[in-house]
Amino acid sequence: MAGAVIPLSEAVNGSKLVISSIEVQGVLRRRLLDLGFVVGNAVEVLRRSPLGDPTAFRVSNTTIALRREESELIYGTLIGGGDK
């Protein structure tokens, strides 16, 4: 599984990824960059809310929750964790 490029929305809890591309556009893209969702940065999937949306991510030492509509447009390479 490690090495695969998947959208953050499909990464299981506990997995770690390195962001490879961000397809979100406009103001929201700017916002995500400001928060640390930058290509090359590491992200960890912390937990999902009971209904699976939103999901909490750990990025640049901070926990940030994203909805599926955003997280499915951010792609990352799996580097480990959460291999259940």
Binding site: R30, R31, D34, L35, N61
Partner: protein
């Protein structure tokens, strides 16, 4: 004896308010931004016979995105023209924190970068190359721990250098892609003609390319009767600037 204004900017949870409280002690009061529901604190401190009015801006990750906090922080730095903008960064998360520092430095060279939580960073094995950072950013940089009261005197000395004009720097000039630079070059004469030389024309041109409506609104409000509708047409260039 003169009085200077120091605006405190920084990401949330960087210890900005800890530093603010440390410097101003009980000599502070909270207020509200005119027309905005953003609560702010103001205080006073002295160093080497200079008095400083400290303004604690809301904690923000950026000066671009449209929240009341970020607009308030941005408007203060642009329109109130503090003598010093102190940017407080979290030493354990410099990558993201430097984002805000760069945004401030694009607006003004009258800034001091304060890298806080240095004790925590050292515990994590993070080593900060103060000289290199200062050189790249072009403004004074101080490394402190507000909680541990480390480096505070040196920080105050740097604030003094910028406040008194002993140190001066031009706003940091970041080079963008040719397309964006061309847009900036086209806009700058119009921006200067409209808003004069008081505000950073290059930075305003960049925001116009970004389609930042809220800055236009603020500019309009601060410039009173002057008409800036001329700049609005240029925005329709279709250039998006995401950097």
């Amino acid at each position: 004896m003169s009085q200077f204004t120091v605006a405190f900017a920084g990401n949330p949870n960087t210890g900005k308010s800890t530093l603010f409280n440390l410097l101003t002690g009980l000599r502070q009061h909270t207020g509200n931004w005119a027309g905005k529901t953003v609560i702010t604190a103001e205080g006073e401190f002295t160093h080497n016979n200079h008095t400083y009015r400290a303004v604690d801006l809301p904690g923000t990750y950026s000066l671009y995105s449209n929240s009341a906090d970020e607009e308030a922080a941005r408007d203060y730095i642009i329109f109130e023209e503090p003598d010093v903008t102190l940017v407080v960064l979290d030493a354990t998360s410099l990558e993201r924190n430097l984002n805000l520092a760069l945004q401030v430095l694009e607006i003004t060279g009258r800034a001091v970068i304060c890298i806080n939580l240095i004790d925590e960073a050292r515990r994590l094995g993070i080593d900060i190359d103060l000289k290199a950072i200062s050189k790249r950013l072009g403004v004074p940089v101080a490394v402190i721990s507000a909680r541990g009261k480390i480096g505070i005197e040196a920080l105050l000395d740097q604030i003094e250098r910028v406040a008194t004009g002993a140190f001066t720097a031009q706003p940091l000039r970041i080079s963008y892609s040719d397309e964006i630079e061309q847009g900036i070059a086209e806009l700058i004469p119009m921006v200067e003609q409209t808003v004069g030389s008081r505000y950073p024309a290059r930075w305003i041109a960049l925001r116009l390319l970004d389609g930042d409506d809220s800055l236009l609104t603020s500019l309009k409000a601060h410039m009173g009767r002057q008409n800036i509708s001329g700049t609005k047409e240029v925005m329709a260039h279709g250039v998006t600037a995401c950097h």
